[in-house]
């Protein structure tokens, strides 16, 4: 009886939370399978559910969707580039600070973390200015570089903490075995850091995939913007095609869900690995 009461209490909390989070997603789904006329009918299930909206999106058969494939490719390109570049920067930094004990490494790490004291939105304008001076505006690289800047401090911090947990004797054994620092990095450090690397790579990738503000500012051509900004353009007119917007949004939300599901084991372990200093 006691156990039943406890479980009942849990369910009483869980069900509202579940409804609360799923309701908007359900609405996206509902819109995406409704025809234009019935989209705002208020029914919990459309009278004539249809997959026509998805067809329209895939065939780019609407003014706002003329660059759908190009824009989703941009999103993907930017997210993957951000993930890889962040990993490269953060892994090297963590290795140098944690394993090679570079002088001033701690100061660099703290300085990097300090950037989080300033909200990313405030940095948008200076970042715009900087990209402008380098002539990178409207190039996908500008967004990639901006996202790497925003993702790196956290990535360095987490990877440094994870590196600290590798036994020091492994480095010494490798040194005696004749490994140069680069060989140590490649043959011992990277394989052992793999779970954390997957987690951090995914983190940076999703951060870039979901970014709107910076993408909106730095990129303005129809064929350079990522899909997130493309979706925003739907709202430019009074008569927005909501059913198409929502169908596109659903497609846009699938890759992150898939990635998260595939790497969920690493995400929980990897992101909390450096959370507590032991």
């Amino acid at each position: 009886m006691n156990k039943f009461a406890r479980e009942a209490k849990l369910w009483l909390i869980a069900i509202p939370i579940l409804l609360w989070t799923l309701l908007p997603i359900y609405h996206i789904f509902l819109f995406s399978i409704s025809s234009k006329d019935s989209a705002f009918s208020g029914a919990l299930w459309p009278d004539h559910p249809t997959l026509r909206n998805f067809g329209t999106v895939f065939r780019q058969e609407h003014f706002y969707l003329h660059h759908f494939w190009e824009q989703i490719w941009n999103s993907l390109w930017i997210a993957v580039a951000t993930g890889l570049l962040t990993l490269a920067v953060a892994t090297c930094a963590a290795f140098a600070i944690s394993r090679l004990k570079v002088k001033g490494g701690r100061a660099v790490m703290n300085a990097a973390l300090f950037t989080y004291f300033i909200p990313a939105a405030f940095l948008a304008v200076p970042m715009y200015k900087a990209m402008g001076s380098y002539g990178l505006l409207n190039s996908r690289w500008s967004l990639v570089l901006a996202m790497v800047t925003l993702a790196s401090p956290y990535a360095i911090w987490v990877l440094k903490q994870a590196s600290d947990k590798l036994p020091w004797e492994l480095d010494e054994a490798a040194r005696i075995d004749g490994a140069t620092p680069l060989q140590l990095f490649r043959l011992v450090y990277l394989p052992l850091m793999m779970p954390s690397l997957v987690a951090i790579g995914t983190y940076a990738l999703l951060l870039a995939w979901n970014e709107y503000l910076y993408a909106f500012l730095l990129l303005s051509h129809e064929n350079t913007i990522p899909l997130a900004v493309g979706l925003g353009h739907f709202l430019a007119s009074d008569d927005s095609p909501w059913e198409l917007l929502m169908a596109t949004a659903l497609i846009y939300a699938l890759p992150p869900a898939a990635i998260y599901y595939a790497f969920r084991r690493y995400m929980v372990g990897g992101l909390t690995a450096g959370a507590v200093k032991t």
Binding site: P167, E169, L170, E172, A173, A174, R175, I176, D177, G178, A179, Q183, L187, V188, P191, L192
Partner: protein, 351 residues
Amino acid sequence: MAAVSFRDIRKSFGKTPVLHGISLDIANGEFMVLVGPSGCGKSTLLRMLAGLEDITGGSIAIEERVVNDVDSKDRDIAMVFQSYALYPHMTVRENMGFSLKLRKEKQALIDQRVAAAARILNLEPFLERQPRQLSGGQRQRVAMGRAIVRDPKVFLFDEPLSNLDAKLRVAMRAEIKALHQRLKTTTVYVTHDQVEAMTMADRIAVMHDGRIEQLGEPLELYDRPANLFVAQFIGSPAMNVFDGVFQGNSVQALGARWPTSARAAEGQRVKYGIRPEHLEPASSGAEGKIAAEVVVVEPMGAETELLVKIGETPLTVMTRGRSNAGPGERIFLAPQASHAHLFDAAGGQRL
């Protein structure tokens, strides 16, 4: 020719000096054990030889070549760590062959060396396993295999048995010693366990507070400790030591006359040391007997350890065979004069 020689080696961590000028020559093929309590600098000395710690002062030579500024990998040494330090993502075979692979040796040679080492260490069935699938003893053998494969000039062991349970430790001790007798590679072995030192070493360097207290063969150290520290560190159970005054060929201490064949100045304050096995129970009629009260009896089968006290001073007595003494009983002790040690009361030096 000395395989390894330390010349006036000094080491400081920041402003704290930990080694105060160590000089030590290790002969070719010798099994040298550095033993001492934790913090005595023995591991630091080994790590300096390995090239893992900078040398503050002095020089280290391996086969006459000064290696102060030579990288670890170019010193031709191999090291076995207390924590094994096996690469967790590699198989046993890859772990053992790693150093040869880094040296870009031919695969055929690597295979042959790994196979030979695996045969010596009985690791053949485990070559394709990963370290986490092995027991502690097997991991330690892989760590040794990794060292053997390199065929180095010197083996370094840093407390290799400390992570093993007591039974396995005894077995591995014999295994390492047998390995040394077979390969005859110069070995420097660091431990805090004096039993390991006694049983394995050709020579032992007893270290304390960054200095070598005494250097010698195991039984030499046991029979003629140079000072009080070595006397009490080497031997288990430890030597009995108490204060006394030298008077006419014996020592007046604890209200009794303790015989000794060692000599000191008449009336000199000394420390009298005698090992538990040289302090045998005597019959009540024996000459020069000393009365003591039994506190605890520890029968171990082949021998019996008696903890006794004279006044408030506790002593340990080891007797062969069995004892029918019980706690609280009075017994008599007969110290063997030729096995008594005298130390200077102030400096602790042997007299």
